[in-house]
């Protein structure tokens, strides 16, 4: 899977969940850097990402996901499994 395409997919999901337009998606982006990205919106985001890619994260994977780059790595590994 192309990382740029995933970035674009995530941009749409993130902007919808936190109701904020024009979020610049970088691999180091995390909850601390975006207003309204709190623990509640984070879980909604995860659910939307799982639904969009038809994948399921394990708890340990969620806990290890420190930023967007980690999330992208997991999406790629799950979709190519």
């Amino acid at each position: 899977m192309d990382r740029e395409i995933i970035k674009n997919d995530l941009k749409g999901i993130f902007e919808e969940v936190v109701s904020t337009p024009n979020i610049e998606i970088t691999e180091t982006l995390n909850a601390e850097l975006v207003d309204r990205w709190d623990s509640l919106t984070h879980l909604t985001m995860i659910a939307k990402v799982e639904e969009f890619y038809d994948i399921k994260f394990k708890l340990k994977e969620l806990i290890g996901m420190k930023n967007v780059g980690d999330m992208m790595n997991l999406i790629i590994s799950k979709k190519s499994a």
């Binding site: 909850a31 601390e32 623990s39 509640l40 984070h42 879980l43 909604t44 708890l59 969620l62 806990i63």
Partner: protein, 208 residues
């Protein structure tokens, strides 16, 4: 005489009871029951699942717990204490992800109530020691166990405690131990819907 030790997996029952009772904050309102329509027994089983995962840097990691025992080896009191941010993520995010994961659909069906409760969320300061779920068993109250445990846990450290503002007895004890109120956050609708035992949350801090 007393003995302070780190918790082990044989303490799961006590820790789950301490979490449930401290969340009630001296009232009959069990917040997680009101939020997710789960019984205390169901919630205890969810906590056991989270304990098994050993997720560090948040209050539901059993390894973050300190237990104080009587000279007969009976558990008298306990609390969770961790260094905020030490796991590379906020404890709030770690705890929420764990709870959301084990609750599944029940989490996503109740986001409106969660949004209300989140209005009294107070951020924890990175690199400070957090105390949470401070709980003394009923037959050991008034004997100074919690005072000993807190003094041990925060000695020489910058520390924070969050609690419901109407928990007067707890607030008094923390003040006696040098904590002062730093932030207060209120949401009146929380009390009306009985989602927490009071409408205001406070953060108390103490410098090491």
């Amino acid at each position: 005489m007393f003995n302070i030790r780190k918790a082990q997996n044989s303490d799961f029952d006590f820790i789950a009871e301490a979490i449930i009772e401290s969340e009630k904050s001296g009232s009959n309102i069990f917040p997680y029951g009101m939020l997710f329509d789960v019984t205390e027994i169901e919630f205890k089983n969810l906590l056991f699942q989270i304990f098994e995962e050993e997720i560090e840097g948040q209050p539901w990691d059993y390894q973050s717990w300190l237990i104080i025992e009587t000279e007969n080896g009976e558990i008298a009191a306990g609390l969770s204490t961790w260094l905020e941010g030490s796991a590379g993520m906020s404890s709030d995010l770690l705890k929420t992800q764990s709870l959301g994961f084990v609750l599944g659909e029940k989490w996503h069906n109740n986001t409106d109530k969660l949004e209300l409760v989140s209005r009294v969320n107070i951020p924890r300061k990175n690199e400070t020691w957090q105390l949470e779920h401070l709980y003394t068993l009923e037959n050991h109250r008034g004997k100074g166990f919690m005072k000993q445990l807190i003094e041990y846990a925060v000695a020489g450290k910058n520390a924070e405690i969050q609690l419901i503002d109407n928990n007067v007895a707890a607030k008094k004890l923390y003040e006696k131990l040098g904590f002062t109120v730093d932030i207060k956050q209120c949401e009146p609708q929380i009390e009306r819907l009985q989602l927490l035992s009071g409408p205001c949350k406070i953060k108390m801090i103490k410098n090491g």
